[in-house]
Amino acid sequence: MDFDYSEDQQLLQESVQRFVRENYSFEARRQLVATEQGYSDAHWRQFAELGWLGIPFPEEHGGLGMSGVETMVVMEAIGSGLVAEPYLSTVVMGGGAVAAAGSEEQKAEILPAVAEGKCKLAFAFAERQARYNLQDVEMRADAANGGYRLSGMKSVVFGAPTADRFVVSARTAGGLRDADGITLFLVDKEAAGLSVRGYPTADGLRAGEVTLDNTPGDALGEVDGGLPTIEEVVDRAIAAVSAEAVGLMGTLNDMTLEYLKTREQFGQPIGRFQVLQHRMVDMFIAHEEAKSMAMMAAMRIDEEDADARKKAMSAAKVQIGKSARFVGQQSIQLHGGIGMTDEYAAGHYFKRLTMIDRSFGDNDYHLRRYAAL
C-alpha cells in the first residue's frame, strides 16, 4: 500500500490548489454563483487548458488516462474552494458514462470535445418517483425508424441548464424497477421535444428538470443493459464527491479552529473551553476518517469486480455522510450567530456538504446496499 502522492499527482494538486487560491476567494465565489449561469466560462477554458477536463479519459480520446486518484486530487481542491463549475456533471458523470459505455465513434466524437472544454454534459438518471433507486425508470424509449424516441421526465439533473448533451436513462423493456431493460441514450440539447426547466440548488449550483417528448436519442452502450453503467457512473460520482467533501470539511475545520482561537467571550478565546475543544477534536477526527474513506474510494473506484466496488463506495458514502453532517452542523454551532449569516463562508460550505449527503443515495440507502452485498 502506498498513501503518498506521486510526483505527477503532487504537481496536479499544486496546480488545482493554485487555481482555487487565485480565483475562489469567498467574495468572488458569491458573485459568481449570483450570476445567471452560476459559473465562469473563463474558468472552464482554463480547466481545459490545464488538462483537467480530460483527466479520466483515454489518451487516444484526448484525455490524460489517469486514475481515480487524480480525480480525487481535483475534487478535493474543488471542495476546498466551493468551486461552482460543472466538473462533476460533465467530466465525472457525463464523461464517465461515455467512456464506460460509448462506442469508439461516440467516444471519439464526445470525449475530446469535453476535454477541450467545447462540450458540457449532464447525466439525467433520477426521476421523481424513484428516490435513490437507480432501477426505478419510467422514462420511455421506443424504437422508431432505426433510432429511438424518448418521452418522460428526469428530475434534479445536475448541470442541466448549460449542458450541450445529455446522457439519459430510459426504459426499453421490462417493468418498473426491473434491473434489465434500461438503456442509456445520448440526447442533444437542441433535439426536438427537449426542454429544461433550470433552477439554482440550495448550495448555489445549478440543476434542472429535463422533459423529453418524443425526442430522438442515440443508444449509448448495450440496449436493455444500461444499469451496470448507471451504477458505475453513480459510484464514480460518489468517489468524486467523497473527495470534494474532504476538501469542504478541511476548509470548514480550518475556519472553525481559527474562530475558536480568535473569538473571545468571558475574557478568553472560546477555544479555551474544554467542551468546544473536544467538539473540535471530534470534527478533526471526522475529517480524518473522511480522508481515509475518500482515499479508499479513489483507489478502489477502478476495481473490476462491480460488487466489491459497490460495497466499497457504499461504505465510503455512509462514512463521508456521517462526517459531513457532523462537521457541517457543528461548524455552524461553534460559530454561533455569525455562522448563520449569508455573508460568512461557513454556511455555504455546510450547504454544499448537506447537498452531497442528499445525492447518489443517502445513508439509509447505502447501508442497505452495503449489507446486501
Binding site: 433552477y199 439554482p200 440550495a202 452542523q329 454561533g336 450567530g337 448563520m340 454556511g347 447537498m355
Partner: protein, 389 residues
C-alpha cells in the same frame, strides 16, 4: 398523581379549534403548513384576532388581562394552535416584556405599555446580543448616558429577531462601566420610530431573514422608559431569560411537522419510518416533561433551570424533525427557488409542495441551538444551578 382530562378541558379544546377554524385565513394556514415565509400582516392580523378573543397573554394574571386559564388550558391552546398551522405570535411582547413589566414596572409604565401588548397593537423586539457580546451577554457595550430627563443611547444590537416589524424594543444598555460587568446594566424601552434608530436586515445563509442589526445613534430615550433601578437591569434580564427558555419547547410545532412526515412517508424505507418513530417517542417524552415541569405549575410559579432542559431537548428535537423533513425530499432537497417561498409566486412547484421550504427550514433551524442562550450555555447553567459543579 393522575391524568385528569375533564369535560371542561374537552369543551375548551373544541372552543379553540372552532375559533381557529373561523378566524385563521386558509392561505396563512397553507403557508405555515408548507413552510413558506409569512408577512408581518399574516402574523399581526392573526395576533389581533387572538387578542380580540382575549387570549393573547395566557401567562398573565387574570387581573392584568390574562384569560385566567388553568395550566391544561394553556397547553391545549398552544398545542391546538400549532396543530392547526396558526402562525406563532411575535413572542417578545406577551411572553417577555409583559411579564417583566408586571414584575418590575411602575404603574405608569404598565398603564402605558400593557394595553398595546394585550391588543397586539404594539409589536416588540428584544435588544440583547451585540457583535462582541454573544454567549457572554453581560459584557455588552451599548451605552446610555444620562442627559437630564433622557438617556442618550449609542451602540449596536445584533441578531434582533423581528426588529424590522417592531414598534418598540426592550433593550439592555450599559449605564455604568466602572464596576463588575453585570452591574451597570439597565433596561430601556425604546420607541423604534425615534430619530437615530436604524434597522438593517441580516441575511441568513438559509436565505430566510428575520434577524436584524439595530443601530442606535444618539437616540434620546426618556428616563421614564427605564424599567427598574438604574444598574439593576441584569436582574430583569435573568428573569426574562428564564421566561424565554420555557416557551413551549416547540412541542406543537414538532407534532404538526411529524404528522406531515407520517403522511409523506410511504414506508418503502423502513429505517426512515423507524427514525420518524424514534423522533415521535422523543417528542412524546418532551411533551410530558413540558407538562410536568411547566404546564402543571401555576402561572406565577417560577420556572427554574428545568427551562434549560426544555430548551436543550426542544431545540434538538426540532432540529431532528427539520432534518427528517429535508431528508424525506430525496433529490428534491436540492432545488432552491428563493421566490417560491414568498407571497405571490404562482409557478408550479419543483417536486412535492413541501420540498420548496424543507431544505431552507433545515438550514435555518440550526439557529435554534444557538439563540436564546446557546445549548452549551444552557448546559453550563444546569451544571452550576442544579448540579453544583
Amino acid at each position: 398523581m393522575r391524568i385528569d382530562i375533564t369535560d371542561r378541558d374537552r369543551a375548551f379544546r373544541e372552543e379553540v379549534r372552532a375559533f381557529i377554524r373561523d378566524r385563521l385565513p386558509q392561505d396563512v394556514r397553507d403557508k405555515v403548513r408548507d413552510g413558506s415565509l409569512l408577512t408581518r400582516d399574516d402574523v399581526v392580523d392573526w395576533m389581533r384576532a387572538v387578542s380580540e378573543r382575549g387570549w393573547m397573554c395566557p401567562n398573565w394574571p387574570e387581573a392584568a388581562g390574562g384569560p385566567g386559564w388553568t395550566p391544561s388550558q394553556r397547553f391545549i391552546f398552544e398545542e391546538e394552535s400549532c396543530l392547526a398551522c396558526a402562525p406563532g405570535p411575535v413572542p417578545f411582547g406577551p411572553q417577555m416584556v409583559g411579564p417583566v413589566l408586571l414584575a418590575f414596572g411602575t404603574e405608569e409604565q404598565k398603564a402605558r405599555h400593557l394595553p398595546g401588548i394585550l391588543s397586539s397593537g404594539t409589536i416588540w423586539c428584544q435588544g440583547y446580543s451585540e457583535p462582541n457580546s454573544g454567549s457572554d451577554l453581560a459584557s455588552l457595550a451599548c451605552r446610555a448616558v444620562r442627559d437630564g430627563d433622557h438617556y442618550i443611547v449609542n451602540g449596536r444590537k445584533i441578531w434582533t429577531t423581528n426588529a424590522d416589524w417592531a414598534d418598540w424594543c426592550f433593550a439592555l444598555v450599559r449605564t455604568d462601566s466602572s464596576g463588575k460587568k453585570q452591574d451597570g446594566i439597565s433596561v430601556l424601552l425604546i420607541d423604534m420610530s425615534l430619530p437615530g434608530v436604524t434597522v438593517r436586515p441580516i441575511e441568513r445563509f438559509s436565505r430566510m431573514s428575520d434577524f436584524n442589526e439595530v443601530i442606535f445613534e444618539d437616540v434620546r430615550v426618556p428616563v421614564s422608559e427605564r424599567i427598574y433601578d438604574e444598574g439593576k437591569g441584569w436582574t430583569c434580564a435573568k428573569y426574562l431569560l428564564g421566561h424565554e427558555r420555557s416557551g413551549t419547547a416547540g412541542v406543537g410545532l414538532c407534532r404538526q411537522r411529524l404528522d406531515r412526515l407520517e403522511e409523506i412517508d410511504d414506508g418503502r424505507d423502513p429505517e426512515f419510518s423507524r427514525r420518524i418513530a424514534e423522533t415521535g417517542a422523543a417528542l412524546e417524552d418532551l411533551r410530558w416533561s413540558y407538562l410536568r415541569m411547566v404546564a402543571a405549575k401555576e402561572a406565577d410559579d417560577e420556572i427554574g433551570p428545568e427551562a434549560s432542559l426544555l430548551k436543550i431537548r426542544g431545540t434538538e428535537i426540532q432540529q431532528d424533525v427539520m432534518e427528517l423533513l429535508m431528508e424525506a425530499q430525496g433529490y428534491f432537497a436540492h432545488p432552491f427557488i428563493e421566490r417560491a417561498l414568498a407571497r405571490g409566486w404562482n409557478e408550479p412547484p419543483v417536486g412535492p409542495s413541501e420540498a420548496a421550504g424543507a431544505t431552507a427550514f433545515y438550514f435555518d433551524w440550526r439557529k435554534a441551538s444557538i439563540y436564546g442562550g446557546s445549548n452549551e450555555i444552557q448546559r453550563n447553567i444546569i451544571a452550576k444551578a442544579v448540579l453544583g459543579l
